[in-house]
Amino acid sequence: MQTNASPFAKLNPVIKGSGLFLIMFALIATNDWIKTLVFLSFAIALLLLSGWGPVDFLKRLAPYSLLFLLTFWMMAAFGKGTNTLWSFGWFHVTSESVVHGWLLSLRMATFVCLSFAFVTTTDATRFVMSLIHQAKVSPRFAYGFLAGIRFLPQLVEEVRVLRRVRMIRNVHSRFPGDAFLSIGLPLFSRSIQRAERIAIAFEARHFSAERTYYEVPVVQRQDIIYLVVILLLISLVFWL
């Protein structure tokens, strides 16, 4: 997650996220693919406001065409319906399931675009600070989360080492979850020891909830306008 210089990046992170969740709830509430299509266009408009050029669309969204087809196929082949169009083995395609597949893959595509709009315009630290100030999340949990998330790359590397060790030492899974157990034990034991050391470091630096803040995200007029636009859009779509 990181920010850029686009208009959408200037919004308050929590307000931005809340607005996107509102659209997601609206999407979930509708079974109409035309309404879904309206929301999809809005999501694409948000991507434009997030500083996406045509190349970004092609490069970053192309892999999702596959996912789009897959979502469609899953519902089309396994969905219920009576008007059979085609059937083979355990696949059973009906006209109803095709419509439902279309609806769900559109919904999935909109979710993807909304998430992209958020993660390409929001700085992780600023988001967490906004959680403290706008969403009233406890600073101890919020800062703890920030410290934890900093170890993502290291944890990814540790999982990679563990998988390589399994390969080199010729250890193979005997049942589902076996790999998870043998990778999880050293990974979690390390994480627990590390977490204790970080907690000690926190307290050694006199960390407490009573504090001033270097960075205080505020709610501005643009955030209110953004929320109003989304609420208007949702009511408009559902009225028509």
Binding site: K80, E196, E203
Partner: protein, 190 residues
């Protein structure tokens, strides 16, 4: 939330992030599986995705642990810049709530293997409720839906709850949990 020690908060965060990393790897396996076997066939894999809840709850043994852990694990997807970030967060809330309710029903007193497996089932129910509402599971044929539900419940209990119980027991044996509720409980029994 005031009675959480800083080290408990930190352990929850680190374990949840570590689970999140494992979820990412598990997701890459999921796609090819589900393309071939459909929504039913890949569902035996479901349980791993909710393991953060029983794992962290059994270690910390405090109200809220199961719910927050699963949300944090889901947030890892968001913070890696994933396209599923926002929906992962919604699913995480539903799964975490499902697991949390089970622990709440024991009044946060029981963290044995059976309770953990039951919390896995709770998380599975949470997940299915979300899928019914948001992913159109209701449109599947009844057989598909029932098979999916059944597999998720079993997988939640085994790959989620049971695996978490085994892991916690093994972690206790290494001594790293000596300063936590799970490690203390073991010492008192012994």
């Amino acid at each position: 939330m005031q009675n959480w020690k800083m080290k408990e908060i930190m352990v929850m965060m680190m374990l949840a992030v570590a689970c999140g990393v494992i979820y990412l790897g598990w997701s890459t396996l999921w796609l090819p599986m589900s393309a071939i076997f459909g929504p039913v066939g890949a569902n035996w894999m479901f349980g791993i995705w909710i393991i953060a809840s029983p794992l962290v709850a059994a270690i910390i043994q405090k109200p809220g642990a199961a719910l927050i852990a699963e949300i944090v694990a889901a947030a890892v997807e968001l913070f890696t810049g994933s396209h599923f970030g926002l929906s992962a967060l919604l699913i995480g809330v539903c799964q975490g709530l499902g697991a949390e309710i089970v622990f709440a029903m024991t009044r946060y007193r029981r963290y044995d293997t059976w309770t953990l497996m039951l919390s896995g089932v709770g998380a599975a129910i949470g997940s299915i409720v979300y899928s019914l509402i948001a992913n159109g599971f209701g449109y599947y044929t009844t057989t598909t839906l029932l098979a999916t539900t059944g597999l998720q419940l079993i997988s939640g209990a085994l790959l989620g709850g049971l695996l978490a119980a085994i892991l916690v027991r093994r972690l206790v044996a290494t001594g790293v949990l000596n300063g936590f509720a799970a490690g203390r409980a073991k010492r008192e029994v012994a």
